[in-house]
Symmetry: C2
Subunit: 191 residues, 2 copies
């Protein structure tokens, strides 16, 4: 998606060779006009699929997922992190290892919102090691729902998540795939 790549080139901030800060438009301050274009592009790429629900994860996936859902005409569910108030039995849960924050946390979704047969599209802002996406996919499988695929805004294609999950059969559509980056030369995109 050229508009997105241009924005990453213009406003993304690179730290070292693996941190790409896009918090001026994607995951702290959010440019909702850009999100609308992102939502349309997800709809275009998954136009062949029925999507009953979009599943994302708090916090930075929520805004993108909600605006994208306007083009799919479906509700969004966000998986919650570290929720303690719901008792076992009422929720689907899976563990996610955060490499960024160096810890493991639980994500949960109330069982009533993911039903057997639901066709579910995952949406998230980043794909790197794939831990969050894998955790979301497990929630969908545990519910007996059908995983349509995953829409990702930025994939760090130099990290192993995308390759591993595609090899497992997950359809992933990433709008910008970063092949490599450095503070000196900027971002290089795959394809």
């Amino acid at each position: 998606m050229e508009l997105l790549k241009e924005r990453i080139r213009k406003d993304g901030k690179i730290k070292g060779t693996d941190v790409l800060k896009v918090d001026s438009f994607l995951n702290h301050q959010m440019d909702v006009a850009l999100f609308a274009e992102i939502g349309k592009e997800f709809k275009r790429r998954f136009a062949d699929c029925q999507v009953d629900k979009i599943l994302t994860i708090e916090a930075s996936g929520i805004g993108i997922a909600c605006i994208a859902a306007q083009y799919f005409h479906c509700p969004v569910i966000f998986a919650k992190k570290n929720q303690t108030k719901n008792i076992a039995g009422e929720v689907y849960t899976s563990q996610v290892e955060s490499f960024t924050h160096g810890r493991i946390y639980n994500i949960i979704v109330a069982k009533e919102f993911l039903r057997p047969g639901d066709k579910v599209l995952l949406i998230d802002d980043f794909l790197a090691n794939g831990a969050a996406l894998e955790g979301l996919a497990k929630l969908v499988r545990d519910a007996g729902a059908e995983l349509v695929g995953a829409g990702i805004v930025i994939e760090k294609a130099f990290q192993p998540g995308g390759e591993r999950l595609r090899a497992e059969g997950l359809r992933i559509e990433s709008l910008a795939r970063v092949k490599s980056m450095s503070e000196e030369t900027g971002v290089e995109f795959a394809d």
Copy 2:
């Protein structure tokens, strides 16, 4: 907002006299078609104001704020909870006491996204004790930005936050004000 009140009557779940669960359409599963109507109503109520930025708080405010922002044609910033990766000096911070979860947490916004003179509208899903809204208002004041007001989806008018913050001069527009509720008789709305 009648559409919202009807939805709360239909799908809200009351526990005791002060817990109103609306997680089937507002803050776990999210009905983005309803959010669009909520966004239009916020725009109608704040039509007399210039709004440069919408500020909300993770996680459940984000979806509503993003869809509302489409009607204000402005970006959204979400305040992050318990962020440890940003160093002091780069962020505005304030403390929020959560009565629901019985703990105090910090919220932060990167200084670069709240500038002196910015006209800022707060948006959140609930107003009860007012702690979150007060924390957000402090971030705006600390930045030297101008607080336009607050758009709230559901106000628990039987809790003290709304009255206190209005007395302090904050303009609050709540789309549904709950006067009282009980498992037996349901929700009674103010006005």
